[in-house]
């Protein structure tokens, strides 16, 4: 189900550390050690974040155990952008109608007073 998949992507993106990890990976692939450097958190904690990102399809990880590096995957981010665009269009039209409604009730009020 597309919605469940989006929920997983959004949940993965909801954490600031994980967003920072993605930002780092947008520059180049990196190992767990390299990713842990800027943060005051343990290697196991970084590994847990990477698992969440991998499950959401936001990164892939190479299989070589020793120097296992992570790579950013852009496709899920495009899904997020599409989701946002759908609701942006909804609100654009909806707020046009609100604007017309407010003008309408304001002018009615003006005529009465």
């Amino acid at each position: 189900m597309a919605t469940d998949r989006l929920s997983e992507i959004f949940a993965a993106l909801a954490d600031p550390t994980r967003r920072a990890i993605l930002a780092r990976l947008s520059e180049s692939d990196a190992t767990v050690n390299e990713l842990a450097e800027p943060f005051s958190i343990s290697l196991p904690a970084v590994s847990r974040h990477l698992k969440v990102l991998e499950r959401a399809g936001l990164i892939s990880r190479s299989r070589s155990a020793q120097w296992r590096s992570s790579t950013l995957r852009a496709e899920p981010l495009a899904e997020v952008a599409a989701w946002m665009e759908r609701y942006r269009q909804f609100w654009d039209v909806n707020l046009d109608r609100l604007d017309a409604h407010l003008k309408n009730i304001q002018s009615q009020k003006g005529e009465r007073s």
Partner: protein, 151 residues
């Protein structure tokens, strides 16, 4: 990348006092007059509003050309500050396909701006993680709502 956001933010200034804009969102008679995309209507009798934390917010958008296409919004208010703030969690879908229904959080802020009203709408996906963060911020007043959401 560092600007990756998980919520949609929309800003618009309306030429009306804050209380008037707030009422357009909270008064069932008014909401029924404007809410929904072009070609869709909100029947007045579908609107149920209990504007207080824990209160329900329900209404249905119905397609004018094909009334069998209906898109219900079924939500609960989480935070309410009169003429200033509405926060809700709700299930809805703007496409009219109930199987595509999504659980969302919606935050609507009303602010004065040169005699007009700046409306800021933040809409994001409902995730346990996001709601967990919100709960920490809201503290113990949330206990009652937790029970309500779980029920």
């Amino acid at each position: 990348m560092s600007s990756t956001s998980t919520e949609l933010v929309i800003n618009r200034v309306f030429d009306a006092p804050r209380a008037v804009v707030y009422r357009a969102f909270t008064d069932p008679d008014q909401l029924a007059q404007w809410f929904g995309p072009v070609g869709w209507s909100v029947p007045r009798d579908s609107v149920e509003m209990d504007v207080r934390p824990g209160g329900v917010q329900r209404f249905t958008m119905v397609n004018d050309a094909d009334p069998s296409m209906a898109s219900p919004v079924d939500g609960v208010f989480l935070e309410v500050v009169e003429n200033e703030l509405l926060v809700g969690a709700e299930d809805w879908d703007p496409t009219g396909d109930p199987s595509q229904s999504e659980r969302l959080t919606l935050r609507i802020e009303f602010a004065d701006e040169d005699g007009k009203t700046r409306l800021t709408i933040r809409q994001g996906p409902y995730t346990e993680e996001i709601m967990g963060q919100a709960r920490e911020g809201w503290g113990s007043s949330f206990t009652k709502l937790d029970a309500l959401l779980a029920g």
